[in-house]
Assembly symmetry: C2
Homo-oligomer: 340 residues x 2
């Protein structure tokens, strides 16, 4: 099969229609996953389901559990373990989001107030810890040490990535390769684990597991690079969070690295004042966005993400054509075609 | 054997001499545990060992790993798994402390600046997550699902206890039984798991596991009740943290519950102004300490803790006399004789 290369002009895959096609394939599995999520969020301590469900039912795309479910279906898996593992993956993701939003003091996510904006920072730290713990309880009940290893390893790598991101924040000497290392760890690792688990639950070969793991890794990288680019290009409404959050927080992402490296001495001084010295003036975000456009830095990030999405799709080359394989390819295309 | 009841006057067990006796029994095991801790703290991300070791090597008493090691020795365990499990228990404890100190905005612990006081709140949240994750990686490598279940369950109960504590903070309607539920979950659960693991690693019967689990549970309760009482009685130096921290944070602990319930209308008004309305005036801490002394509330807490320590010791009644059993009894006595 020849995998067509997406043209560099922006294709636009409508989020609703992509999700509709996925639901046609794994709608029942997603319902089963949601039932497990609701049941496992339960606790005698009322604040846990309240706060947990605020985020977990806030209209996230469920991309990570979708990966697990879709890969399991790709391999014709007929049991129920995939829905449990998909729920665990979503719990781990939610726990990291709760902690992320506390660490970043974020006000909005998915168009809603963050848990920390509503309840303060204490409860989200502790409810995040609960979700991590509950995830491991669910995995112990599932009882497969290999699955436990994949997710314990993923959690360690993710937290290392988060610390790494903290270390390089506000540092314009951050290289593209350091940035990609953070992206790989903090985002792509869980995508990779989610996809791999779909192969593990189906009892597939190490080579097949590995191909799906790589697919998830590249998909996750593409997804995060685009996510970071959107912070300088999207409208608040499309983004669901506040445009310019990364800029205000001094996060060094690909568009910034590119615009800084390509920038004039005066432009570099601007970037340093904002991101390193954290001395912001009125109009700085508008100037940052203008510089990023002028230097072609969004286009640069988009091209990088497209190469990653292509690498993701190439991992699927050896699998026979099927609706599930088409859906995995669609997900890769979707990851780089979100609204700019 | 008759277990002697500690008299109500304060016995004073010197911390150094207690630790010396323990080291004579399990000194080598503690060294092995420390080696594992150092090795497993390692990460490519330098900030993780830096921040982790700041707390983990800050002169904590290592009570929880000591429990695992001592119980394993009580049963004549001759392998090396106990040191690994002891290290995991200390990692989980350290992760909860890192998150606790962020949540409480604490400035000092064990006489040193807290991680959040030095590095801000972001890194301790993320390094805490790393320690949780690394713990589960170590448990997966150990490969015993029963051990994994005990610690995954413990982590979930601990985080529930932490959230519960948050919910009842600043609420003087908190009952003694609600307070004890928080103490049991947030502290005693890990003591219980640590002691139980010493029996599990030794392959003992369910009844023996359970007796040691109960021993740890009661020991942990006694320890925490005393810890909370010390906040109104100790000197800063003896406490290692700042006296009155709990008071400033509006934590509702046993001495406060007792003093409030026994207090006059005017005294209750004082407690409500401070702990519920958070309207503090100069001299409030001194007044709180005076009221707690006047109402016999420290003595009340001390008696409750002593009953718990006795219950802990009673769990050991069926085990033959041995230096390890004596050391476990000593630990129970020590837990209620720390300096007032």
């Amino acid at each position: 099969m020849s995998l067509s290369h997406t043209p560099v002009t922006t294709t636009s895959l409508d989020s609703a229609s992509v999700l509709q096609r996925l639901h046609a394939l794994i709608g029942d599995d997603l319902l089963a996953t949601n039932r497990i999520i609701v049941a496992q969020l339960d606790s005698q301590v009322e604040m846990i389901p309240t706060l947990g469900s605020h985020l977990i039912n806030s209209g996230g795309k469920r991309l990570r559990p979708i990966l697990t479910l879709l890969v399991a279906r790709l391999f014709g898996y007929a049991g129920e373990g995939h829905a449990l593992l998909a729920a665990v993956v979503e719990f781990i993701h939610t726990a990291t989001l709760l902690h992320d939003d506390v660490v970043d003091k974020s006000e909005r996510r998915r168009g809603k107030l963050t848990a920390n904006a509503i309840w303060g920072s204490k409860a989200p730290v502790l409810v995040g810890d609960f979700l991590f713990s509950r995830s491991f309880q669910m995995l112990v009940a599932y009882g497969d040490l290999k699955v436990l290893r994949i997710l314990a390893d993923a959690c360690a790598v993710i937290s290392e990535g988060e610390v790494m991101q903290l270390v390089v924040s506000n540092d314009l000497a951050t290289t593209e390769s350091q940035y990609l290392e953070v992206v790989s760890r903090k985002t792509a690792t869980l995508f990779a684990a989610a996809a791999r688990l779909g192969a593990v639950v189906s009892g597939r070969s190490e080579a097949e597991e590995s191909a799906l793991g790589h697919y998830g890794e590249y998909l996750g990288r593409a997804f995060q690079v685009i996510d970071d680019a959107l912070d300088y290009s999207s409208s608040d409404e499309a983004l669901g969070k506040t445009v310019g959050d990364d800029f205000q927080e001094g996060k060094i992402t690909l568009p910034v690295i590119h615009a800084y490296q390509q920038g004039s001495a005066e432009e570099r001084q601007f970037w340093r004042r904002c991101l390193e010295d954290k001395e912001y003036q009125a109009g700085d975000l508008q100037r940052a966005i203008a510089l990023i456009h002028a230097r072609g830095s969004l286009q640069y990030a988009l091209q990088a993400a497209r190469r990653m999405a292509e690498e993701a799709k190439e991992q699927l080359a050896d699998f026979p054509a099927s609706p599930e394989r088409e859906a995995l390819i669609l997900l890769a295309d979707f990851s780089v075609s979100r609204s700019f």
